[in-house]
């Protein structure tokens, strides 16, 4: 088998060139000598993080990150279909929502990356008001709420959401992401979020850290 670093470079190249067969060949090949969690942790997670980091550095475009993440999800889904035990991880209960905003791309990318990495995430919807978010958190027993926004006004709803969660006695960590937080790096602290991801792969890194503690 090729060294791990070479496999990661090959998988990155295959995903970014939208080479489904090549991506599948690398992952299935690695699976022969590795467990499913190892396939995820050794190859998929580092490669998706690397792609996301390159978007943050301006080396890749959002469309490339989206298409690569989508392909990774499709390939992993196909592999999982042949794995009766599936892939599950110790993790906090995760939910993702677009707060009072119907721009869903960010949430789709976060859901895609996290599910591809083996995390279960409840999709709490888009255009979700603070009241609806409270109801959804209660219904799903959410412990970590991933909030995606595009509009500044939606970002500024997070303090209200945090206050209402506290009033309802719901112990939920709020991780935010989206354009306003990229353009104003201090905004996530201002709105009282517990963390901020600049990209979908950032969300993956944050959730991975939280999962270790779960």
């Amino acid at each position: 088998m090729a060294p791990l670093e070479q496999l990661r470079r090959d998988l990155r190249a295959a995903l970014l060139s939208l080479d489904r067969l090549g991506s599948n060949r690398i992952l299935v090949g690695y699976r022969k000598d590795a467990s499913l969690p190892e396939v995820t942790d050794d190859l998929i997670v580092p490669v998706l993080e690397d792609i996301g980091n390159d978007w943050e550095r301006g080396k890749l475009a959002l469309s490339e990150v989206y298409m690569a993440g989508r392909l990774a999800g499709n390939v992993v889904d196909a592999i999982l279909a042949t794995e009766p035990a599936g892939l599950s991880r110790p993790q906090p209960r995760l939910g993702a929502a677009v707060l009072d905003d119907v721009h869903v791309l960010g949430k789709q990318m976060v859901l895609g990356v996290l599910r591809t990495a083996g995390y279960h995430v409840d999709d709490l919807g888009s255009g979700v008001t603070v009241d609806a978010a409270i109801d959804a958190v209660r219904e799903h027993d959410t412990e970590v709420l991933l909030v995606s926004v595009l509009m500044l006004r939606s970002a500024l709803l997070v303090p209200d959401l945090k206050r209402r969660l506290a009033e309802e006695g719901l112990d939920v960590r709020i991780i935010v992401g989206g354009a306003p937080f990229r353009l104003d790096p201090n905004l996530w602290r201002e709105v009282g979020a517990d963390g901020c991801g600049a990209s979908a792969s950032d969300a993956l890194a944050i959730v991975s850290r939280l999962a270790v503690r779960a």
Binding site: V102, L183, D184, N186
Partner: protein, 344 residues
């Protein structure tokens, strides 16, 4: 110099009497007139009054007939979502499946009540402003409109995987965009702001842009009966700024996070800069910070002309305080007088 003369001079990369200023206040007209945002945009007279009061208060050089971005999607069947404290958004996508594109036809501007309000506002602005200030019309580019028509994710997939349907959608959107932009020019706009938010390196790789958004821009801009400036919604522009300039557009909006000195070096004499104050951060600035940041923009990009001080996104958020806007305007009027005293 009138504001229009000032604008035309700087767009020719010459130094006017001072750096022009464009405060992209649209929603704020509702506050000024003491009404809700939806009510404000229901009558063209409100928008005109809001723009006139903006210009009187801040002494800026551009007025716009811009209502809100989602208005361009309304003739396609999109329903706009309204908020009390932010810009209206396009609602659920009107193209639900890619195959819907095959049945899509360009809507007629004359048949859209929303667009007729914009055109009426343009006529009224022309009556009131004449040629004193630049009247800027706005269209959403055919390449950007599908984000509202079908949602961002499905649109990216369309670009990559369904080139025939992508081309068909561009044909429809281009026909609509050209008709709408030319109607605005005929109604009194001096120039069109070509709002093209997908066409930045943040969103799409430059090589793909050159075979998609750039071709669309070239086709559309060549059919317009007036000049354009290109508005790029805070995305990174340096990797494709030469391409943007090649469309013949007169000015563009670099990202607030880009190195303005590098942008100026790359674009001087070729395409003017509109920007690049950070509208999202602006909400938290003190007046002193606003003045310092405005002066930095003037110092960096003002020498030699080719600068219009503005926010980078094209729509200053509702939450930005008035004293910050006043500080920006004061700084342009005090520190933006040519000769600036900085080297070109």
């Amino acid at each position: 110099m009138t504001s229009l003369e000032r604008m035309l001079t700087t767009l020719q990369h010459k130094e006017p009497d001072r750096v022009p200023l464009f405060l992209t206040l649209t929603l704020q007209g509702a506050k000024t007139l003491g009404m809700g945002i939806r009510e404000y945009f229901s009558r063209p007279e409100n928008v005109v009054e809001g723009q006139l009061r903006k210009r009187a208060k801040y002494r800026d050089d551009i007025v716009t007939n811009f209502f809100y971005g989602a208005i361009d999607a309304e003739p396609f069947g999109s329903r706009t979502r309204w908020f009390e404290d932010g810009p209206p958004n396009a609602g659920e996508p009107c193209i639900r499946r890619p195959e819907d594109i095959l049945r899509l036809e360009p809507p007629k501007v004359a048949e859209s009540a929303s667009l007729q309000r914009v055109l009426r506002a343009t006529e009224l602005l022309k009556e009131r402003i004449g040629d004193d200030a630049l009247i800027l019309g706005i269209v959403i580019s055919p390449f950007g409109l599908p984000v509202m028509q079908m949602g961002f994710g499905p649109y990216i997939e369309l670009i990559y995987e369904r080139p025939e349907l992508f081309e068909r959608l561009m044909q429809v959107n281009e026909a609509f965009c050209v008709e709408y932009a030319n109607a605005q020019l005929a109604a009194g706009c001096h120039a069109i702001g070509y709002f093209d938010p997908v066409s930045t390196a943040t969103i799409i790789p430059p090589e793909l842009y050159r075979t998609t958004g750039l071709r669309v821009a070239n086709r559309v801009l060549s059919q317009l009966n007036g000049p354009t400036v290109t508005l790029l919604a805070s995305g990174d522009t340096l990797p494709m700024v030469d391409d943007v300039a090649s469309t013949g557009t007169l000015a563009f909006t670099p990202s607030p996070t880009e190195d303005l000195a590098e942008v100026k070096r790359r674009t001087a004499g070729k395409i003017a800069i509109i920007g690049n104050l950070n509208g999202v951060e602006m909400r938290t600035w003190s007046p002193q910070q606003a003045a310092a940041k405005t002066e930095a923009v003037i110092r960096t990009a003002g020498p030699g002309g080719g600068l219009i001080v503005c926010d980078a996104h094209g729509e200053i958020p509702w939450q930005v305080p008035e004293d910050v806007l006043e500080a920006i305007a004061e700084t342009v009027h005090e520190k933006g007088r040519y000769p600036l005293g900085y080297e070109s």
